[in-house]
Subunit: 267 residues, 2 copies
């Protein structure tokens, strides 16, 4: 994580950073860029799979909060940003063919087809800044780690070819701040919203908090409760389970930076 | 409106009322039935149009809050009710063929096809009871009328074949209760959520509040502000604009009664 490189991009408008990514001048992670602006996960799928994926999102809105769906064949967006080339404005992409990861690219315009649909999905970066502003500590940020994520025993509601277990992220919250953590995130349903569970990890099939399935383990202090939120990894893992013929996603941490403020994601 | 008939159904479980409708024993409007349970609008479309309609809903969530989308070909539901026959469990349906209204039926099972998809859409009945509980008067209920609805000059975000102007419903709210009306409905985004506008009807293209485009005009008293909410007529009117080859909807007021409580619709 080259976060130090990003300080100079903290106050840059999103369109500028997207332009630099488009020109190949930014090819690293977007953490800390364009402070206050929402960043989004990207999934690009053929139109033939788009209905099932959109239906999966509708049925699992806390796991898969869709910020915008592009028109089939369009590389631009209309709502969360304009003047976009979705195939070049993210720093790094991953391409999947016949269900297998086939490469990481800084530009996927060569893969574009008229039947491709872009899904932009809310990301917990947005609610983490709201938590910090509300005085709720975010441990993995304090410890300079990736958030711990766990595959639960909770089934997502399936839709067509898409289905699988819910993946959650965990943040340890001091007992006296748990209510605040719920109310702050509940006000932001478009970036996963309120927690799915408070405490009792074994009830959702998590046996060892120190051994997350994705990301890093973090310190849980005496008097802190593990709080679990739906996680953007769920749609990605559900997508990969289905072994789509073709898909493009952002590379983890290399997000799409939108023109909307985190505060605009509040209801 | 035979509301008087419905008093005996106020405390009946939703599954019982759906069974009576299925047996043809209830063929009138559902107003006041199964008190506390959410009622829903129904749109049934061929799968070929389902993606565009779901995308329209995703892009216009306040106008078109989807509670559940059935699997193609399935007459049952999984989330908001179970053991359903969507073609018989509503008291009355409307059928549209080649874009034209062709008949009203109490049973549409004969029209069923394996490519049909059912959309259940939240309805303002749910937030109206929340308003009343919070001490905000609901004028059209007081006056025994249908809610006044207006076509605005606000464009919905189009999606595929679907597009058109936003239709809003209006409730006059005493000045000192406007904030309460906002906060109560904002907590229920799955049934249209917070208002789109407070006051100033001409700014959204409404010239005469006494002459609604749908429903009935209601009294606006001195010191009351007209408050406008997104309305379930929008998806219906947008659907009809597109002149679909085939569609089934509920007949106005003859709603699908779900197994979920209005209070479960709060975030």
């Amino acid at each position: 994580m080259r976060i130090v490189n990003n300080l100079k991009y903290a106050d840059m408008p999103p369109a500028e950073v997207r332009k630099l990514a488009r020109e190949g001048k930014i090819d690293w992670n977007t953490s800390g860029m364009c402070a206050g602006f929402a960043q989004a996960n990207l999934v690009i799928l053929p139109k033939a799979l788009a209905y099932d994926f959109l239906l999966f999102a509708q049925r699992n809105p806390k796991s898969c909060p869709v910020l915008e769906v592009g028109d089939a064949g369009s590389r631009d967006l209309e709502i969360i940003a304009r003047g976009v080339d979705i195939t070049r404005d993210l720093p790094r992409y991953r391409v999947y063919e016949k269900g297998a990861f086939t490469g990481e690219y800084t530009d996927v315009s060569g893969f574009w087809r008229d039947d491709l649909v872009s899904f932009l999905i809310g990301c917990s970066f947005s609610f983490e800044s709201a938590l910090l502003e509300a005085g709720v500590p975010v441990r993995h940020i304090e410890e300079g780690k990736n958030v711990p994520m766990y595959t639960t025993n909770i089934d997502c509601v399936p839709a067509g070819v898409f289905g699988g277990k819910m993946v959650v992220s965990m943040r340890p919250v001091p007992q006296d701040k748990v209510v605040k953590a719920v109310t702050v995130t509940a006000s932001m349903p478009r970036v996963h919203g309120s927690p799915v569970r408070i405490g009792n990890p074994s009830a959702i099939g998590i046996e060892n908090l120190d051994k997350p399935d994705f990301g890093d383990g973090v310190t849980i202090n005496e008097g802190e409760v593990p709080v679990f939120w739906c996680c953007g990894v769920t749609p990605q893992s559900v997508l990969m389970n289905s072994k789509p013929d073709f898909a493009i996603t952002h590379s983890p941490g290399h997000m799409f930076i939108t023109d909307i403020k985190n505060t605009d994601l509040k209801d």
